[in-house]
Symmetry: C2
């Protein structure tokens, strides 16, 4: 175990859930420190019945930390990860900054746990939209080798943090009251609307969010031959990302086989009874660590295709839970 641990970005939406998870999962440590930007430093966090003052994120803050779990914007992670590494602190980083660095493992514990053990001081956790998809892909890839994925996302406003969720509430209320709808966090109004852009333009008409789904998937499976065509869309849902996924495999996987494979995979729960109106929905998956799969069916347009619907709490498995699971892998390997 690690004696002294820290949460970096402790006051953010994901930081808050990381704190909950450390309690829920009885994560082992002797001392805990909460770090945040100068703006949040000095505020107080109650944790396990004790009051903790949030400290400012500085290089020296890592002097006595062994393990840090970070959830910060990319530019912050760019700075603080070297500060931690120089001081011998291992970092599990939720940001996008280090994910594609060839020296940094990118890990979903149910998919590629071994990668975590070859780290050189920092391990990255994938983007939320990637994590739930690769978890769903894992058993199908092992059983039939995935050649191609076509995915359309329905992403919640919590992916843009607390401010995104607040904007959904405020703008929806304004719209219902017939008042002008403002947007600050999102490029357009999200109230009762869809925004088919997440992130900035990155590559030949694809956004940064979409290219994360391509490159992170290939890195996690260690297989550049897996082709991914993503479309990422922001929807007026508070929390939990949903994905319409179609995979093509080298070897055919039947619906019955897929259902068994999914059900046998740790971290996946199958809810799939269309005639009874049972399938995963954001409202039912909020606050759960699992990745939910339903609407499993054979592709009508390709011999070896399989279509399904996948929902997961993007703040949990898409962020906090996956990071804490990586930290648990490190604890287990240090025993």
């Amino acid at each position: 175990m690690f004696d002294s641990i820290a949460i970096v970005g402790a006051t953010g939406a994901v930081g808050k859930i990381i704190r909950q998870l450390l309690v829920e999962r009885d994560f082992p440590y002797k001392k805990i420190t909460f770090l945040a930007s100068a703006r949040s430093a000095g505020t107080t966090i109650e944790f396990k019945g004790e009051q903790h003052t949030v400290k400012e994120l500085t290089p020296e803050a890592f002097d006595d930390i062994d393990l840090a779990i970070g959830s910060t914007p990319d530019p912050v992670a760019k700075d603080f990860v070297p500060w931690a590494k120089e001081r011998g602190c291992v970092v599990v980083d939720e940001s996008g900054f280090w994910r594609m660095d060839p020296t940094v493992p990118l890990v979903v514990p149910e998919v590629n746990p071994d990668a975590a053990l070859s780290h050189t001081g920092v391990i990255a956790s994938p983007n939320c939209s990637t994590t739930q998809m690769v978890l769903a892909m894992k058993p199908l890839h092992e059983a039939g080798k995935i050649r191609r994925v076509v995915v359309s996302t329905y992403q919640a406003t919590s992916g843009a943090g607390v401010a995104g969720q607040a904007e959904l509430v405020d703008s929806s209320r304004a719209a219902l009251e017939g008042k002008p709808v403002e947007n600050k966090t999102f490029a357009h109004s999200i109230a009762f609307n869809l925004i088919p852009q997440i992130g900035s333009e990155k590559h030949e008409g694809y956004t940064s969010e979409e290219m994360k789904m391509v490159f992170e998937t290939q890195k996690i499976f260690g297989d550049d031959s897996i082709k991914v065509c993503p479309t990422c869309v922001r929807v007026p849902v508070s929390n939990c990302h949903s994905e319409s996924i179609l995979v093509e495999t080298e070897k055919k996987i039947t619906v019955a086989e897929a259902r068994e494979l999914f059900a046998a995979t740790p971290g996946i729960k199958v809810i799939d009874n269309l005639s009874a109106g049972e399938y995963p929905m954001p409202k039912d998956c909020d606050g759960d660590d699992a990745t939910f799969i339903g609407r499993i069916r054979e592709d009508l347009s390709c011999e070896n295709g399989l279509a399904f619907w996948c929902v997961s709490d993007n703040l949990r498995k898409g962020a906090a839970t996956n990071a804490v699971q990586i930290a648990e892998l490190l604890v287990a390997s240090s025993k």
Copy 2:
């Protein structure tokens, strides 16, 4: 032209827009009759400055009608279309009941106008989710022959009529006020949620709405070799359906070619400038007769694939506008 026309289902969400369109497009007629179920019969509609009493939909109601445009539930259309045909009245029917009847043409005027002219008394207008997709497919199919379509929909509550839109407003308001959220029109709460089921279970895990997208597309193009894999999802948007579409063509079509082909197609408007944050969104397409296309890009997962985003007002082009356009074809052919 037709001397005496009728709108069947005149008081419904689509009936209301058909009335607006007859004015907007200066549809020719001498006499107009508004028909509806016994529940709505007797109410008054103001049309072109005159008060019209809505008449009950009975066989005899068609005695002096030459052309009827109908937007009713399927069981109603099953009954009234034969009543009209027996009396020599031609019907343009928006319901799902007659669409797959081999003696009934299924028409999108920009796609297969000639089919309308071989009718035997009734012409069907496709399901809303099909109409905008086949319109988008049309120029690509002509240029490169479409082999396969993978489509995920983001469908508005207006697809379930006025009651669907009202339930979105009421349940969203309740959710924001922390009150219990009720659902009657939809199988689950639609407020800030997604429902990955539209229609009932129909075929091997696919819903009736999804199978409409398969069979209607093949019928409209007269080509059963076009494979379609649809996923239909209800989203908390009031009006305008959106679709994430990927097509695979026999002959490669570049992004530049696709943009030109779309722009040259009547009924399509291209809004496609990702770096400027410009693409079609439901909030901007409401009340417009066009089908909007953006996010046009090459598929990253297949050599001859093309991905794009398509939004259209499902009450207009997806229903009322397409029906009135079919009626206009009949007027033109009767000259």
